[in-house]
C-alpha cells in the first residue's frame, strides 16, 4: 500500500546566491568545430568571456548553441579547435577535468539524474568537483540558495515539478562553487514565476563574481542579466555586440532570433 506525503514549498525570499569557490579567469574559444556524425553543427566559432561577465549565446533552434556549450564542456563526440579557461587549455581534457577547473554545466531540459533523491543529486555535483567541501555545509548553503529544495531533500528528484527539477539541476551544478556556469535554456518549460526566481538567482551569482554563459530562447530574459550578446546562425558565430546595441537592433533580432 502506498502512502502520500504532503509537502509545502518554502518561501523564496532571502535566498543567498552561491559564491564561487574556485579561481576564475577568462574563457577563450578559438576555431571551435563540432560534429554529430557527419553533421557539422559548430563551425569555426570563436569568442571570449571575461571573468565575472555574463554572455548570452542567442540564435534560432538548431543554430548550434547547445552544441557549443556541450563542446566547451567536452561532451561532444567529435570536435576541434582550442578552448582555454583561466589560461589553462581545456580542449584535450576529458569532461570531468573541465569540471575540476571550475566549470559547471546546467543541461537543457532539466536533466537531473533519475533514481536519486534531491540530496543525492546535489551530492553528485559535490562528488564531481575536486574540492572536498563538507557535505552538510554545502547542503545548508544550497538550502539557503534554493529554499524550494529545502523541504524536498529526501524526496526523489523526479517527483518534483518541472521548474523545481530545473532548480535542482542548477543547485547540483553550483554545489561545488564553480567560477563559470554554462546555462542551457534554463527557462524552457518553467512557469514565469519560477523563471523570475531563477533569473534573480543568476543576477545574484553574477554579482558574487560567477561568470555566466547563457543560452536562452527568451531573448528579453537573457538581456536582463547579460553584458554582451553572441549570435549563432547555422553553426557559425554571426554577430557579437553589447546588450544595449542588440536591444535596439530590431533587424538583428528579427533576422537571427525570431522563431
Amino acid at each position: 500500500m502506498s502512502t502520500v506525503h504532503t509537502v509545502l514549498s518554502a518561501p523564496t525570499a532571502g535566498a543567498v546566491p552561491p559564491v564561487p569557490h574556485t579561481a576564475g579567469g577568462a574563457l577563450v574559444i578559438d576555431g571551435l568545430n563540432a560534429w554529430y556524425g557527419r553533421a557539422h553543427v559548430v563551425q569555426d566559432v570563436g569568442f571570449a568571456v571575461a571573468p565575472g561577465e555574463a554572455v548570452a549565446l542567442l540564435g534560432r533552434n538548431g543554430a548550434g548553441k547547445t552544441s557549443t556549450l556541450r563542446a566547451i564542456m567536452g561532451l561532444m563526440p567529435r570536435m576541434s579547435g582550442t578552448i582555454s579557461y583561466a589560461g589553462c587549455p581545456l580542449h584535450r581534457a576529458p569532461a570531468h577535468a573541465r569540471f575540476h577547473r571550475g566549470l559547471a554545466y546546467v543541461p537543457e531540459d532539466r536533466r537531473i539524474v533519475p533514481g536519486l533523491t534531491v540530496r543525492e543529486n546535489i551530492r553528485l555535483g559535490l562528488i564531481a568537483s575536486r574540492e572536498r567541501r563538507d557535505e552538510d555545509t554545502v547542503i545548508a548553503d544550497i538550502a539557503r540558495t534554493f529554499p524550494r529544495l529545502r523541504e524536498r531533500l529526501d524526496q526523489m528528484g523526479t517527483s518534483m515539478s518541472g521548474g523545481e527539477q530545473q532548480m535542482l539541476s542548477i543547485a547540483r551544478a553550483v554545489a561545488a562553487g564553480p567560477s563559470l556556469v554554462l546555462l542551457d535554456e534554463p527557462s524552457e518549460g518553467v512557469s514565469p514565476l519560477l523563471v523570475d526566481e531563477m533569473y534573480e538567482l543568476f543576477a545574484g551569482m553574477k554579482a558574487a563574481g560567477t561568470t555566466l554563459l547563457l543560452v536562452e530562447q527568451e531573448v528579453e530574459r537573457a538581456l536582463e542579466i547579460a553584458d554582451r550578446v553572441c549570435v549563432l546562425d547555422q553553426g557559425r558565430l554571426v554577430h557579437v555586440t553589447s546588450v544595449d546595441d542588440f536591444r535596439t537592433d530590431a533587424a538583428a533580432q528579427a533576422r537571427w532570433c525570431a522563431l
Binding site: 553528485l124 555535483g125 562528488i127 526523489m156
Partner: protein, 325 residues
C-alpha cells in the same frame, strides 16, 4: 508563497526497513545458517561461493548497469592463483586466498583497460572474448594449469587461531572459515555501495550521459567498479579452490560467466541480498533437478526464462519493491 504539492511516498518499505546494515545482516545470517539447514555442507559451500561471485558481479551489472560476459576470468583467475601458489610455492592457504582475490582485481583492471573503450553490447562481446582468452590460456599451458583435468594436488592445511586449531578438511570448519572471508568481502561491498562511489555507480546505471554531464569521471568509475568486482569475484574463485581442493578448468568457462548473469537476475539485480538468494536458488535447482534428469540445464533454463518474463526484478527485487543497497 506556499504551494501544496502531493508526491508519492518512497517505494520499497522493506528496502527501507532493511537498509544497508539490515541487508548486510540478512546476508550474513542467511550464509551463517545455510549449512545447518541444507542436507550437505558442501552444497552450502557451493551456494556461499557462487553467492559471493554473483554479489561481486552485481556490483558492475546490477549497480553500475554494465553487462559483462567474461567474469569467469576473474573467478577462475582467483581460483588458479590460489591453487598455483599453494601447489608450486607452498603458500599457506589464507595468504593464497588473499592473493587470489588480488589476482581477480588485476583481471578486472585488465578488462577495464581493454574493454572500456566500448559500451553496451560491444563491451559485453569484448569481455566474452577476454574471458575465453583466460580459458584458452589454461588449456594451452596445461603443464602449469593441468589443462582439461584442472589443477589438482593442493591441500588446505590446518591453521591455528588463538590456540584453536582449525582443520579445513572438516566440512563444517571449512565452511565457516570460508564464511569469515565472505563476511569481510560482503561488509566491504556494503560499505562501497553506501559510499559516494556507490551513488556514482547508481547515477551511471540510471543515465550514463547525464552522469557524464554532471562532471563525473564515468570511465574511471567503471574501471574502479570492475577492479572491485574482480576483487570479490577473485575471492569467490579462491574460496572455490579451497572448497573443492581442486580448480576445474570450467571455472574459466563462458558458461560460468553466464551463470553469474542468471544468478544475479534470478535473485534481483541491483539488490544486496538478491545475488545470494539467486545463487541459492540456482544451485538448489541444479541439485534437485539433476537428481531427476540429466537435462537439468534445460529445466533450469526454462525456469530462468519464466523468471525473466514474469518476475523481471528477480525474487528479492520483487520482494523489496525497489533497488536499494
Amino acid at each position: 508563497m506556499s504551494v501544496a504539492q502531493t508526491v508519492p511516498a518512497p517505494t520499497g518499505l522493506l528496502a527501507r526497513r532493511f537498509g544497508p546494515v539490515g541487508s548486510l545482516a540478512l546476508a550474513l545470517v542467511f550464509l551463517a545458517v545455510l549449512p545447518l539447514v541444507l542436507p550437505y555442507t558442501s552444497l552450502a559451500g557451493t551456494v556461499l561461493v557462487m553467492g559471493l561471485f554473483a554479489a561481486g558481479y552485481n556490483l558492475v551489472f546490477g549497480y553500475a548497469g554494465i553487462l559483462s560476459l567474461g567474469h569467469a576470468a576473474m573467478f577462475g583467475g582467483g581460483a588458479y592463483t590460489t591453487g598455483l601458489l599453494m601447489l608450486k610455492l607452498g603458500l599457506s592457504w589464507p595468504l593464497a586466498v588473499v592473493a587470489g582475490a588480488v589476482a581477480g582485481a588485476l583481471v578486472g583492471i585488465v578488462f577495464a583497460a581493454l574493454a572500456l573503450r566500448t559500451r553496451g553490447i560491444y563491451f559485453a562481446m569484448v569481455t566474452l572474448a577476454l574471458g575465453q582468452c583466460g580459458y584458452q590460456l589454461a588449456i594451452t599451458f596445461a603443464d602449469v594449469t593441468g589443462g582439461d583435468n584442472g589443477l589438482r594436488g593442493f591441500v588446505a592445511a590446518p591453521i591455528e587461531i588463538g590456540g584453536l586449531v582449525l582443520d579445513p578438511a572438516q566440512p563444517m570448519v571449512r565452511y565457516y572459515l570460508m564464511f569469515g572471508f565472505a563476511a569481510v568481502a560482503l561488509a566491504g561491498l556494503a560499505r562501497v555501495l553506501v559510499s559516494p562511489f556507490g551513488m556514482v555507480l547508481r547515477a551511471m546505471r540510471e543515465n550514463l550521459p547525464r552522469a557524464r554531464a554532471c562532471g563525473l569521471d564515468v570511465r574511471g568509475a567503471k574501471a574502479l567498479a570492475l577492479a572491485l568486482s574482480g576483487l570479490v569475484c577473485g575471492l569467490a574463485g579462491s574460496l572455490y579452490a579451497i572448497h573443492l581442493s581442486t580448480v576445474p578448468v570450467d571455472t574459466l568457462g563462458y558458461h560460468l560467466s553466464g551463470q553469474a548473469v542468471m544468478m544475479t537476475l534470478l535473485g534481483g539485480m541491483g539488490t544486496f541480498f538478491g545475488p545470494l538468494l539467486g545463487a541459492a536458488l540456482f544451485v538448489g535447482a541444479e541439485h534437485l533437478v539433476s537428481d531427476v534428469t540429466e537435462y537439468w540445464q534445460t529445466v533450469v533454463g526454462i525456469l530462468f526464462i519464466g523468471f525473466v518474463l514474469f518476475c523481471p526484478k528477480g525474487v528479492w527485487g520483487t520482494f523489496e519493491g525497489a533497488r536499494q543497497p
